[in-house]
């Protein structure tokens, strides 16, 4: 299988689509550690990277692979790693370092059952809150949740584009079902796309401030070897990049790294709204669950029930403004998830008292079927 433009239609497994997309996005460094159900991403990267003069390395552990990814990105190369729950836990510290030092990197998490070793070969959506809050301290992070092989391809490319332009770590979060799903995708649209480059520092080296406030809140990054000789530290740092405990400087630093996602919210947010305009009952779902939810909504519409689906593609930051406007006036919001209830808490936060938020949860290693959601819709309508 190749990624040449003449072969436009390809049958790809989700994990392979992720790897092929990373190469198309310009990723030239991969460090990882084997873990089910994400290993095919590493395997495909090991095959593809040497063809484009990239580097693949299987590190000694998950921690080391995240460290190597950040190290490579500091060197100016687009870098990625992939993992699943237990590995995602181990990567959190160095992910936090990337968030604090604003080093672009992409982390793929193919979710499996948890907690702990859980069910390695079974799908789950239990890492939704971990993806947002896994590393300690207030930090910016973007989490994208594709629901098909095609969308894994698109969102992996977008993950690199967002990470490089905003200098924020981006997590692509999908479950085992989609990771191992084989679907046909058309690569012609994306094969010849223009690569997104990070904003590199240029201009005078004397007095250069690597973390200076800029209009877009994203300071240009100095490339090692370009003569800037800057300092990168996970300690709180001022605009100079050197550690500080000055309350004013620390406050400005944290405000800027958190504020940049607000400032660029339009670029970051993405969602699908299906039959939402006149919906009295909204289903909020993501990943494989959203596909079951869509079918349930179609079934409901066939029975003249005014149901709609809101599918956040950007899970974090949650597209709250558009969700609030759609949820306004609805009687109930259903939140099916393959966990014991995580995103429903975020949904409750954005709904008024007159809207009931009803979670549908499954955590037995089986995906949620359309019938389970449709039954709940019918039950609510008949009341």
């Amino acid at each position: 299988m190749s990624i040449s433009p003449e072969n436009e239609l390809e049958n790809l497994e989700g994990n392979h689509a992720c790897a092929v997309a990373a190469i198309a996005a310009g990723c030239r460094f991969y460090a990882g550690y084997p873990i089910t159900p994400s290993s095919e991403i590493a395997e495909r990267m090991a095959l593809e990277l040497p063809k484009v003069d990239g580097t693949f390395i299987q590190m000694e552990d998950e921690i080391g692979s995240m460290g190597a990814v950040v190290g490579a990105s500091i060197g100016g190369v687009k870098a990625m790693t992939a993992t699943s729950g237990p590995g995602f836990s181990l990567k959190q510290e160095n992910l936090g370092f990337a968030a604090a030092t604003e080093i672009p990197c992409v982390i793929i998490n193919v979710m499996r059952g948890g907690p702990s070793t859980g069910m390695p070969t079974r799908p789950a959506q239990g890492d939704v809150m971990q993806a947002r809050w896994g590393t300690h301290g207030d930090h910016p992070i973007i989490v994208l949740t594709p629901c098909s092989v095609k969308e894994i391809y698109e969102q992996t490319i977008r993950a690199f584009d967002l990470s490089e332009t905003l200098r924020v770590p981006v997590v692509v979060l999908f479950d085992e079902t989609i990771g191992h799903l084989i679907e046909t995708i058309d690569l012609s649209q994306t094969n010849n796309r223009k690569l997104v480059e990070r904003k590199w520092a240029s201009g005078p080296q004397e007095g250069f401030q690597p973390y200076a406030m800029t209009e877009d809140s994203i300071p240009p990054m100095p490339r090692p070897g370009d003569g800037y000789r800057t300092h990168i530290t996970g300690l709180h740092h001022g605009e100079s990049g050197f550690p500080t405990q000055d309350p004013g400087q620390v406050e400005r630093f944290i405000q800027r790294i958190l504020g940049k996602l607000d400032q660029h919210r339009q670029q970051v947010e993405s969602y699908e709204a299906f039959e939402c305009e006149d919906a009295e009952l909204l289903v909020v779902a993501y990943g494989i669950t959203a596909r079951a939810a869509k079918r349930a909504v179609k079934q409901a519409r066939a029975k003249k029930i005014k149901a709609g689906l809101f599918r956040p593609i950007t899970l974090w930051p949650f597209p709250e403004t558009v969700f609030c406007s759609l949820a306004k006036g609805t009687k109930a919001v259903l939140v099916p998830e393959m966990n014991a209830g995580q995103l429903n808490l975020e949904i409750e936060r954005h709904c008024s008292d007159s809207t009931r938020v009803i979670p549908i949860n499954r955590f037995d290693g089986e995906p949620i079927a359309p019938g389970q959601i449709f039954e709940k819709i019918q039950e609510l309508v008949s009341k």
Binding site: R28, F29, A31, P50, K51, T55, I57, M59, E60, D61, I63, G64, S65, M66, G67, A68, V69, V70, G71, A72, S73, I74, G75, G76, V77, A79, E93, N94, F97, P222, P224, G225, D226, G227, Y228, R229, T230, H231, I232, T233, G234, L235, F242, P243
Partner: protein, 281 residues
Amino acid sequence: MIEENIQRFDIRDYLRTHLFPHFMCPGCGHGIALRALLWAIHELGISKDKLAIISGIGCSGRTGAYIDAHTIHTTHGRPLAYATGLKLARPDLEVIVITGDGDCLAIGGNHLIHACRRNLNLTCLMLNNETYGMTGGQVSPTTSNDRFTTTTPLGNYEPVFDACALAIGAGASLVGREITMHVTALKDLMKEGISHQGFSFLEILSDCTEIYGRKNELGESAEMVLSQKANYRSDSYGNQVDEPFKPRDITTGILAKNDRVEYLDACHQHKMSKLQKAMNT
């Protein structure tokens, strides 16, 4: 081989003096190690623009920031992982890791043994002061027997890690040890390590006077440095035959060196021979 720089060495050319006063305690050996490193860099003629210093957490971790180069102060125990990524992405950079006994041997031990095994062209300087100085002087994997630390109030009874033996066992292609008492020898050893094509592991015995020394009544900094001299044995394992070692004996110099193929060279050779064939068929 890089041509020797014969210009006079002025340490201020390599320091970020605007960060002074520095954080180190009076008598700390890390400053001596820092001087030796900058001297070695100067004599090797390495451009500051092409120099990346990667450190972890602890007193050793904070030392790198004073160097006027591309400095990266990473997470606890992980500088070798970051260095691996950076060197693979940017082989044109001279990548030197500054780490400590806790950073390198305890929390980062796994990265050390695999860095030794891989033999990527990195230089790892482990400043061994036998304690976690930054956090107040707790026991470390290299704390000598019977020493008092804040977490060994009855004296240390755990076996001591021999970092160099570990590095040799894991396959590092250059392993050396030096004491901060010997600044010139330390500089020369660092030059050897940095110019070696492969993974170099250097253990530098650096005194923690203020915390470890005081708690164990090892005297002022001058006395601690002099006691290094009393315990050291010059040059490699070859000289140790005449009398049996005492517990705190230190062997200095290059302890192991071989010309095992460097990681990127091995990678390149493989790519050329095997992958090219596979792609052509």
